[in-house]
Symmetry: C2
Subunit: 289 residues, 2 copies
C-alpha cells in the first residue's frame, strides 16, 4: 500500500512558521495584509475567497476584499490596482482570474500593472522572469510551490532524480519544471503533443501531473518505487452520488497499489496552496521592514 | 555517413531575407542600426565585433561601436545605456559580457537598464520572461534561436519528438528547452547533476548539447537515426598543431559514424548566431515604423 502524502500536514507545519513570522511583524506594528480583488461572484472565486479568509485569520494575516461588479470595466480595475500599489498597508494583492469575458483581452496588461513586490500570485512578467531565471524578482505561482513544499516535507530527494512533469502551462507545468530543475532534478516535460506519455512517465522516479484531465494517469503510466504528485483539480460531476466533487488526474485505484507514495485529491497539493499564498504575503511584508 | 548540417547555408538564407527587409526600411529613411558597447579590448570581444561589422555591412545594417576603457565604472556604462535608450536612430544594443571583473556585481542591474525594445541579445528580465512565457516581450538569446533556425532550415521535425537538451544555462540550455517545447517537442533537460546523461541522450530523437565541455558527447550518448546539434564553442589549445582552435562537445569521430545528421564546430550553430542578432536589429527597427 502506497504512502499517502496528505497536504494538511504540510500546510499545518508551514502555517506554524508563517504565524510566528506574522506575530513578529505585529510586534513591529506591521499587520501583514492581503488585498483580494474579485469581479463578480463566481462560485469558484467565492469558495477560494472563503478558504483564504479562514486560513488568514488562523495565521494572523489581514485580508481586505474588494468586490467589483461583474461588469467592471478596464479602468475601474486598473485604478484599483494602482491604488493598492500605492497603499503601504497592503503587502500582497490577489486578483481572481480568469477575469470576466469582456475583460479577458486586457488580462495580461492589467496583471502587469501590479507592483512585482506585491505580486504574491505570480501574475506579472517580472515574477515569471524570476521563476525562469531562478531569482527572487517577485513570487512563484502558489500551486507548483505547494508541490515543492509537499515534496520537501515528505523528504522526497530531488537531486539527480528523473522527474516527468505532465503539462506545460505557465501556471503549473512550466514553473514546476523550473523549480524542480533548480533542485537539480532531471526534468522531462510532457504535454498534449507528446507521443507516448505513459512510456516516459513509467521510467521516472517522480511523476508530477498537471494535465487537468481526470483519469489520464493510469496503471500504464506508473511503476513500483515511484512518487506521484497529482496537482490537478478537476470537477467530476459523477462523484458523491451525482452531486459532483473534485478529482485529480490519477485513476487512484490503479495507481495507488503500484507506486510508493502519492498525493490524494482532494487533500493533497490543493490543501497547501492557500498557505503558500499567505506565506508570500508575510514575506512581502517582511521585505518592507 | 551522417549529413553535415552546415551553418553557412542557414546564415546565407536568413541573410537574403534580412537584407531585403533592411533595404525596405531604407526606402522609408530608416537605417537599421546596432550599437555595440565594449569595455576594454578582450580578444574574444574583438573577434566577435569584427564578425558583426563584416556581416552587418553585407546586410545593409549600420553598427556603432562604443569602446569604453577597461576600467570604466558603473555610472559611465549606465549613462551610455540610458543615452542609447533615448536615441531613436539606434534600434538594438549589444553589450559584451561578461563585464570586467570590477563591474560583475552590477551586471544584472546594468543589463536591466536597457529598454526591452532594443534588447536584441536578451539581457533583460523582460526578454527572459518573453522566452519563458512564449510572448514577444523582447528578443530571444541569439544562440538557441540560431539552433532553432538551423533545425528549421534542415527540415528537422520537432512536433512530438523527444529532445534531450544538455545544459541548463540561461543563455543556451533553458531558452533552447523553452523554444523546443513551444514547437511541441517533448524536452528533457540534462545537466551536471544528471545521473546518466548517456542513457537519456541515447533514447532521444534529437540531442542539443550545450554542456561547454569538449569531448563530453561520445559514442555512448548516441544512437542511429538521431540528429545532433552541438551548440558549444570551447577552446581547445591542442588543435591546429598546438596553436589552438575552437571545438564543440562532440567527439566528432565517434558520433558522426552513428547518427543521421549533426552540426560541425566550427561552422555549425555559431555561424548562424551573428545573422540572428542582426535579424533582431531589423525587427526592432521595423517595430518603430
Amino acid at each position: 500500500m502506497a504512502k499517502l502524502m496528505s497536504g494538511k500536514a504540510v500546510a499545518d507545519a508551514l502555517g506554524i512558521q508563517i504565524s510566528e513570522r506574522a506575530a513578529k511583524l505585529k510586534e513591529k506594528g506591521i499587520v501583514p495584509t492581503l488585498a483580494v480583488i474579485r469581479c463578480g461572484a463566481k462560485p469558484s472565486d467565492l469558495s477560494y475567497e472563503r478558504g483564504i479568509l479562514k486560513k488568514a485569520e488562523s495565521l494572523g494575516i489581514e485580508v481586505r476584499v474588494t468586490a467589483l461588479p461583474e461588469d467592471a470595466d478596464r479602468e475601474m480595475l486598473a485604478e484599483e490596482i494602482v491604488a493598492l500599489n500605492r497603499d503601504d498597508a497592503v503587502h500582497g494583492v490577489l486578483l481572481f482570474r480568469p477575469l470576466p469575458e469582456h475583460l479577458r483581452k486586457y488580462q495580461t496588461e492589467i496583471c502587469n500593472m501590479l507592483s512585482p513586490a506585491k505580486d504574491v500570485d505570480c501574475m506579472t512578467d517580472l515574477s515569471n522572469a524570476g521563476v525562469y531565471e531562478g531569482r527572487d524578482l517577485g513570487f512563484a505561482p502558489c500551486t507548483p510551490e505547494a508541490c515543492m513544499e509537499l515534496l520537501k516535507y515528505y523528504g522526497v530527494e530531488l537531486k539527480g532524480k528523473n522527474v516527468t512533469v505532465i503539462g506545460r502551462s505557465l501556471v503549473v507545468g512550466k514553473p514546476a519544471a523550473m523549480m524542480l530543475m533548480a533542485e537539480h532534478a532531471t526534468v522531462t516535460v510532457c504535454h498534449t503533443r507528446t507521443v507516448d506519455v505513459a512510456a516516459i512517465a513509467r521510467k521516472a522516479d517522480i511523476i508530477v501531473t498537471s494535465a487537468g484531465a481526470p483519469g489520464s494517469l493510469t496503471r500504464d503510466h506508473v511503476a513500483p518505487g515511484q512518487t506521484v504528485v497529482d496537482i490537478s483539480i478537476n470537477w467530476d460531476p459523477t462523484k458523491n452520488n451525482g452531486q459532483g466533487g473534485i478529482t485529480g488526474d490519477c485513476v487512484f485505484d490503479e495507481v495507488e497499489p503500484v507506486v510508493e507514495a502519492l498525493t490524494p485529491v482532494p487533500g493533497g497539493v490543493g490543501a497547501v496552496t492557500t498557505t503558500v499564498l499567505l506565506g508570500h504575503v508575510v514575506s512581502a511584508a517582511e521585505r518592507t521592514v
